[in-house]
Amino acid sequence: MSKNIIVNWVSDYTDELYRWALHKTSSAVIAEDLVQETFLVAVEKVEHFRGDSSPKTWLFSILNFKIIDYYREKFDKPVSFDGNSLETFFDENGDWRADKRPNKWNEADAHLLDDVEFQAVLKKCLDALPEKWSLSMKLKYLSEKSSDEICHELGILPTNFWQIVHRAKLQLRTCIQKNWFDK
C-alpha cells in the first residue's frame, strides 16, 4: 500500500480521530499525541490492514487501544497515599478540621457556569491538582460505560479509583471554597 494513501487518511480522518481522543482525555495535548501515534502505528502495520474493515474503523481501533494504554499506564501503580493527604482535611478521629469544613455555598446560582471569573478559579484549582488526580476527575469514559466496566477494562481496582477521586475532590472543593465562596 502506498504511503500516499496513508497520507490521504491523515487528511480524511484526523479531525474525527482527534475529536474522539479529545472527548476521551479532555486534553488537547494528549489527544494530539495519541492521534499522531495512531498514524505512526498505521504506517508500521499497514501490511496487516487487509481492507476487510474500512480504514476509518481500523484507525479507530488503533486509537482506542492507545487511549486504554494511556489510562492504564496512569493508574497502574496502586495509590500511594502520598504523606496521607487526608490528614490535611481530617483529624485523627476522622472529623473535619475547622479550616477545611464545608460551608454552605450558593451554588444554586446558575450564573456561575457562565461566569468567566469563576471559570478561571475552577481552572486554577484543577491545574493545582496532581496529574493522576485531575485525570481521575476527567475520566470521561465513565459517561458511557459503568464504572465497574471501566475499571475492569483498565485493570484498576475500583477502590484505587474512587480513593483517587476522593482526594482530588477534597482538594478541589477546598480550593474552590477558599477562592470563591469564602471571599
Partner: protein, 86 residues
C-alpha cells in the same frame, strides 16, 4: 457525642469517601444506611455531598475543549510520516 457518632455511623472522613463511591459505584446496604444516618447529623458532610455533585456538573459542562484547528496537527503527522520511512 461525636465519638459515638463515629463508632455507630461513620467518621466524616469515611462519609466523604462513601459519598464519592456512591457517585460512581454502588454502595452496600449497610453503607447506604450509615451514610444517610451520618448526613442527618452532620451539616458539613451534607454540604460536601451537594458540593461534590456540583463540581461534577461543572466538570461535565465545562467545554474547555475549545476546538481549535487541526490543520497544524495534520501537517505535523504527514511530515513525520514522510520523513522517517523511506
Amino acid at each position: 457525642m461525636k465519638k459515638l457518632m463515629n463508632i455507630l455511623f461513620l467518621s466524616c472522613l469515611k462519609a466523604t469517601e462513601l459519598i464519592e463511591k456512591k457517585l460512581r459505584f454502588k454502595l452496600s446496604f449497610s453503607e447506604k444506611i450509615r451514610l444517610v444516618m451520618h448526613k442527618s447529623m452532620c451539616e458539613a458532610c451534607t454540604n460536601y455531598e451537594k458540593q461534590s455533585l456540583f463540581i461534577d456538573t461543572l466538570l461535565d459542562s465545562t467545554k474547555n475543549n475549545a476546538e481549535h484547528s487541526t490543520e497544524d496537527l495534520k501537517k505535523n503527522i504527514a511530515d513525520k510520516m514522510l520523513e522517517d520511512k523511506t
